[in-house]
């Protein structure tokens, strides 16, 4: 699992590539915790390169979402592949997350 980070104003944009599974979930959780600890609670996760997500990955996304929303932030998801979107649909997570077709659309939504 690779995680690339960049900033766009006060928004952290993280690109995830590879498999988010039981092995990588802890690492991703730590990286997201690290971002939150810097005071950044507005995030966009670009999932274009995400090949697979397990239940561990889903749980990490959900727990991090709750952390940032407590601080009036959000985690917005962009560029999901259809297989990942299907998992989110089945899990009922599409009701919980704001999901966008593109990274730009997710970024812009923070200003609307």
């Amino acid at each position: 699992m690779e995680l690339a980070e960049k900033k766009s104003g006060d928004i952290s944009i993280l690109g995830l590539t590879g498999r988010l599974d039981a092995y990588s979930a802890t690492e991703v959780e730590k990286r997201l915790d690290g971002v939150i600890q810097t005071g950044c609670v507005k995030m966009v996760l670009n999932l274009e390169g995400l090949e697979y997500i397990s239940s561990s990955g889903l749980r990490v996304f959900l727990s991090q979402l709750k952390k940032v929303r407590k601080q009036q932030g959000d985690i917005k998801l962009a560029c999901m592949k259809s297989n990942i979107k299907e998992v989110f649909d089945i899990a009922g997570f599409t009701q919980l997350f704001n999901i966008f077709e593109t990274e730009d659309a997710a970024n812009i939504s923070y200003n609307s």
């Binding site: 397990s54 239940s55 889903l58 749980r59 990490v60 959900l62 727990s63 709750k66 998992v87 089945i90 899990a91 009922g92 997570f93 009701q95 919980l96």
Partner: protein, 435 residues
């Protein structure tokens, strides 16, 4: 010694207070189906959402709306480890993506499995109001609930005036309870889609296999309802079943079910869980013919076999040409569960002149897919092994596989497949060197 009423008052609480002692990391089991206690489940979910509870293990069997709207809600998936001992519509999606774990089991073993393998901190369940002797009734849900109520560290009951009071081994004394809340709300009702075109033919074939004086176990759903309607001309039937459903009420009211010829519990309608309509729950209430027992008793194959002419009727998803039946796995994931199918398949066959019947539609997906398949998919599971299969029934016929060779079984099974698929199944049977 406090009077029972005084004990009741001293334990009476609000849902919020009653669940306030639950700690993070606890293991919780809740009452099954209509016994899911909505106020308690909501109060626990509220605590989780408030950040007061984490890492809660929740055990359900056939989770219904009260638990799916609360503890199994997707937004709590990071705080709740969910386990389903039978998969329902409410847990199927979560099971598919690993947010809810299926626990394989034979239903009759669930009380023991939970008692020996779970360190249960809390049990919550709905019960009927306390009587003057200090007893509640488990009502619609005896199953494993009566066991976990007694092996948990903290038992909270939700008294619902709509929960029927039933007889048998179904009582719970106030002295056994740690906290009581009162919350009267309509019980969950179970509705089924209307009958399918094939149901009439299947119902007729099944009814022909049922002799007068038989004791019945019927699954629940649309097809069992139709089968029950086809039994209206039978005499002196009895009930010893896992699930008590509305179709059985009709048979009792019409005098078709009398229970007179049962060897065990004559004149009594024995069940472990009831799933039906408001009218059915009213019929059950304070009705001395309605006896509920733990599932370790009702589904114990040795107990089932004690009634002569025991007839069990269950459904399957598909059967292969060897006679192996899959009743629980669909499209690569757990769709339902083993439940009590094998309990009753074995118990009924071991009863004197008993029969186990597995009924199914010959096709799925509007006739495009045969439910008789050459081989089960490599990922599918076998619910009823070929050695146990007795009668198979589709809308095209009924066959008895007991004592038959692999060749004769394959031919028999193909004979009840939809005619459109029979030629290709015969070719596959040849390729498998079954013919």
């Amino acid at each position: 010694m406090q009077t029972y009423r005084a004990q009741y008052r001293s334990k009476l609480s609000t849902p919020e207070k009653a669940v306030s002692g639950i700690k993070s990391g606890s293991t919780l089991v809740h009452g099954l189906a209509a016994a899911e206690p909505p106020a308690l489940l909501q109060a626990i979910a509220d605590r989780i959402r408030a950040g007061e509870l984490q890492n809660l293990s929740v055990h359900s069997l056939l989770p219904m709306e009260n638990v799916s709207k609360t503890l199994l809600s997707p937004d709590l998936a990071d705080c709740v480890q969910a386990f389903s001992w039978f998969v329902s519509r409410s847990s199927r999606s979560a099971v598919k993506v690993g947010l809810n774990y299926y626990v394989p089991n034979h239903f009759h073993q669930v009380p023991r499995l939970m008692r020996e393998n779970l360190d249960i901190d809390v049990t919550v369940t709905a019960v009927s109001p306390m009587d003057r002797s200090g007893f509640f009734s488990f009502g619609t849900s005896n199953d494993y609930t009566s066991t976990v109520a007694r092996c948990c560290k903290w038992l909270i009951v939700e008294v619902n005036k709509n929960m029927p009071r039933v007889f048998g081994d179904a009582l719970l004394h106030i002295s056994e309870v740690d906290a009581v809340v009162e919350h009267t709300t309509p019980l969950i009702e179970f509705k089924w889609p209307g009958p399918k075109a094939e149901d009439n033919a299947i119902g007729k074939l099944v009814a022909e296999l049922v002799p007068d004086g038989a004791t019945l176990q019927l699954g629940f759903g649309g097809l069992p309802n139709v089968i029950a309607m086809k039994l209206m001309d039978h005499k002196d039937l009895g009930i010893h079943t896992e699930v008590f459903g509305p179709a059985m009420v009709e048979l009792i009211r019409k005098g078709v079910v009398t229970g007179r010829r049962k060897n065990r519990h004559p004149m009594k309608n024995v069940f472990t869980v009831a799933e039906g309509t408001r009218e059915m729950y009213r019929f059950m209430h304070d009705n001395p013919s309605m006896e509920s027992y733990p599932v370790s008793y009702t589904n114990n194959p040795d107990v089932i076999a004690l009634n002569d002419n025991m007839i069990s009727i269950n459904s399957i998803i598909e059967v292969d040409l060897l006679g192996q039946c899959n009743s629980e796995f669909l499209a690569g994931s757990e769709y339902s569960g083993t439940g009590g199918q094998l309990d009753y398949v074995r118990g009924a066959y071991n009863s004197r002149d008993g029969k186990s019947i597995l009924a199914f539609y010959s096709t799925a997906k509007k006739g495009q897919v045969s439910r008789v398949v050459p081989r089960l998919d490599s990922g599918a599971v076998i619910t009823t092994p070929r050695m146990d299969v007795h009668y198979l029934v589709t809308e095209h016929g009924a066959v008895n596989l007991k004592g038959k060779s692999t060749r004769d079984r394959a031919l028999d099974i193909i004979s009840i497949a939809h005619p459109r698929f029979r030629d290709s199944l015969l070719r596959e049977a040849e390729n498998m060197y079954l013919l």
